[in-house]
Amino acid sequence: MRQIRIEDRGERLSVQTGQPETDADAAIGRAAALLAKARHPVIGGLGCDVDGVRAALRLANAIGASVDHAATAHERVELRVLADSGVMTTTVSEARHRADLIVLAGPGAVAWADHARALADGGGLYPWRGERGVLCLATGGARPAHVAADGTVSALGDDLPLHRVLGLLRARLGQKPIGPLAQDGPDRTAIDAVALQMKSAAFGVMVVDANDVDHVTLDSLQGLVKDLNRDTRFTTLGVPAHHHGRGANLVSAWTTGDHLPVGLGRGYPVQDDWLHDAERLVTSGEADALLWVGALGPDVPAWASSVPTVALVHHGASASAEVVIEVGVPGVTHPGVLTDAVRDAFAFVDAKAPQPLPSVAAVITAIEAALPGGHP
């Protein structure tokens, strides 16, 4: 076994396996051997910082792996709609200060607004902004407790699916007739009032969680926003993808040319949501090895048990895998670059509680170096 780089840095690997292992080299070697002999390896989870994703893509190129991220709604819904028909978006901070109408579309938007509290105050940079209205569309009765509003929160279609509410609004905004309405649903007057409220906003922001919708619904939502921009300014705000999904997909885009999932088995990247879906590859038996990256979560999924797995997990994570390597958490045990959801941008984050645990990038780089023909 070659000497590995992470030991050169004096860092330590904590190894958890069914048979406790104290030799970091051995864990790396076993991980490399497991992945190298695979016919179709997969890298999944990918909850890690920028350098971790860069290292994972390099390793994938070396072993011909498919790479996917756990934030599948971000990839299969948000990024699909972007590629299908385009999007209008803004940042949390711009919405906070400039929006005179916040539209929470779907229950996930309400849950996020209350959890993140990013819109809990109305900002104050633009004193000319009018009063802030808040509107709930198809939220199933959920109302935000932590979104700043001048006046009461209005709502439409609590008992309707979001796609139906969006369709009704688009029709009325386009001065089209609408069909018979359910007796327990909104009447035309209520729909027209909400349409007028949206048209009357100077800068409206519609918040939506990709986990709430399919790509057709999100496409319709974006279409509604584009329609509104003929007369006023309106845009959208996506609930941030979990486990650093936004950042991982951006790194993939500038590295491979496109978002995740991506396959590198042909010596060049192939983006395909179905073909390179990590869960599908593993559960169908097409893949025969998995490298799960969960420094920022999530835990190794149950479906991973069907293939030999190397798991890179944070302290305290439960993992059952052939090789389990404990890694540090970027921004906690070691510094790293992560996306900052407030302004949808990358930020360098220092370690809050430094510990001598290796980063995902260090471990993956060591695995790549330990491959047959690798360069330590």
């Binding site: 040319g257 990247p269 510094p335």
Partner: protein, 546 residues
């Protein structure tokens, strides 16, 4: 000490002397006028019959940052990867990746490229992407002038000193190589619902006109000592009649140095019926009369492409012409961005006229030191069309072959057909090497003088200039062979050139307060620290003017 001898090539470098057949020595990464005394030559490359030039320098090419990556995500169908790359060069053929960008530039003999839209709120992403572009050196221009903080300083009639300090802060913290303003005030006005913006229009709620923003920044650039003149994306991009805007903007500069980006997009006149005609002569005359002004052309070339701009107002207007029918528009903090795909079609007379106007500008250029070659990549076309552009400029016969296919409606609106000028290799060397390096203030490159950075491109001397400039025979980066026979040999990492102006401590505190109020996070979240790049040594600090 490593000494490389480039033997017997025809050296085209007007900075170091007249074109002549001579040897060029590269010693420890620098050009040497002669072989080291008593020093052995480690490697010799026979350049007999070949053209030796400095590595190319691109002053304006959108190669990195949030909007560039947005274009990757918006248009997967335009860049499907289909070819496996060579061993040891991961992602070399990953279409539209940063890795492919570095390889393709290097294979053409370009060794330094500047990204012209570094938004301060997104600076780290731009620099992360730049650092992943291999082989070439990079730089980026910090975009200012449309953000609430800056406009508030104007509204509050703050002093020149305060504005200088605020701009210096943005430049330093974003690690820019220069400063750029985009449709001064236009994007801010678009946030408030305006859809057009002229030089004397006023940004709602701030009381600041576009002219005031422009002239304030011209002053700040000089006071900070930024070597590159203010990089100006003027008002009215793409509007017939925009030559008047350019003339008014030149007048507003009152003799101060200024660089117009992609001036072709402003060179559209209009006839009595309001139809588009060439305004190239008017622009060329304005440039000839203003020696303080430089520009890059932003040549249009045919085919599908994507426009990437922080000019939200223009991109919203352009979205109606998107092909395919999709676009993205980001209302960012201060600077956002719009991405709109377009097809420049050979059968479209307006697109043909745009193509012709760009070439007219080159051929009417009063000075190759002041009119630079760009396509505003990818807005006018890909940077990979540079060899074709050089061919069109050096060979009137090649131009005639292209003009044959021009629709009559376009032909009668441009004087291109009557132009006989052919660029010389010396003019090409100035326009694509020496001049952009000089204008950017990175004067250790773009030429082959003693002590220059050993970035060198060696080309076969071919009649077919497209073939000649598409694949360099050899390219050396910092004295290291990186391309042979038109193919990159492997990955090395270049540097990103930045300025590090002094930042006033009081302004730092004011900015920290503002940033915390606006974002709820401190200024550290916006920083571009070396540590973000791990063990990589990314940045090279260039001197400010004193």
């Amino acid at each position: 000490m490593t000494t490389i001898r480039l033997m017997g090539g025809r050296v085209v470098d007007p900075v170091s002397g007249a074109t002549s057949v001579r040897d060029v020595y590269l010693v420890d990464g620098r050009v040497a006028a002669a072989a080291p005394v008593g020093g052995a030559v480690d490697e010799t490359y026979d350049c007999t019959g070949k053209i030796v030039m400095a590595g190319g320098v691109d002053v304006h090419s959108h190669i990195a940052g949030g909007n560039v990556t947005m274009s990757r995500l918006l248009l997967p169908e335009l860049h499907v990867s289909e070819t496996a790359g060579p061993d040891g060069m991961p992602f070399a053929t990953a279409s539209w990746s940063g890795w492919e960008t570095g390889r393709l530039y290097a294979e053409m003999g370009f060794t330094t490229v500047v990204e012209p839209a570094l938004a301060p709120a997104q600076a780290l992403q731009t620099h992360l992407e730049l650092a992943d572009i291999p082989i070439i050196d990079r730089g980026a221009l910090t975009v200012v002038g449309n953000d609430d903080h800056f406009l508030s300083l104007l509204r509050d009639r703050e002093s020149e000193t305060a504005i200088r300090d605020a701009v210096a802060y943005q430049l330093a913290t974003s690690k820019g190589l220069g400063l750029k303003v985009i449709n001064a005030g236009g994007p801010a006005a678009f946030h408030s619902g305006l859809r057009t913006f002229e030089l004397d229009d006023v940004v709602p709620h701030y009381g600041a006109s576009s002219r005031q923003i422009l002239t304030t920044l011209l002053t700040a650039v000089d006071q900070i000592g930024v070597p590159h003149p203010l990089h100006v994306h003027a008002n009215n991009l793409g509007v017939p009649g925009a030559p008047k805007t350019i003339e008014e903007t030149i007048a507003a500069a009152e003799g101060r140095r200024m660089h117009f980006a992609h001036i072709q997009f402003y060179s559209y006149g209009k006839d009595a019926e309001g139809m588009m005609t060439s305004g190239a002569e008017e622009i060329a005359a304005a440039l000839a009369a203003a020696p303080n002004v430089t520009c890059d052309v932003g040549q249009v070339m045919f085919g599908p492409t994507v426009t990437i701009s922080l000019d939200l107002m223009k991109q919203w207007q352009g979205a109606a012409y998107a092909s395919p029918k999709k676009f993205s528009l980001t209302d960012g903090d201060a600077e956002g961005g719009g991405v709109v795909p377009l097809v420049y079609a050979r059968k479209n007379w307006i697109n043909q006229l745009q193509w012709a106007i760009g070439l007219e500008l080159f051929l009417l250029s009063p000075d190759p030191w002041r009119v630079l070659m760009t396509t505003d990549h990818p807005n006018g076309g890909s940077f990979t069309t540079y060899p074709q552009i050089i061919h069109l400029l050096m060979d009137s016969g090649e131009r005639a072959r292209w003009i044959e296919h021009m629709p009559q409606k376009a032909r009668e609106r441009t004087a291109l057909e009557e132009m006989t000028r052919e660029y010389t290799l010396e003019e090409v060397a100035i326009m694509t090497r020496a001049a952009p390096a000089k204008i950017l203030g990175i004067t250790d490159r773009g030429h082959l003088s003693d002590g220059a950075v050993a970035d060198v491109a060696v080309y076969d001397d071919l009649t077919d200039k497209t073939a000649m400039f598409t694949n360099a025979r050899y390219v050396f980066k910092d004295g290291r062979l990186v391309v042979r026979d038109g193919r990159a040999l492997g990955w090395i990492s270049g540097r990103t050139s930045i300025l590090a102006p002094d930042v006033d401590g009081q302004m730092e505190r004011r900015m920290a307060d503002y940033i915390t109020d606006r974002y709820g996070v401190g200024p550290a979240a916006f920083a571009v620290p070396e540590r973000a790049f791990g063990e990589r040594h990314v940045f090279k600090v260039e001197p400010c003017l004193t």
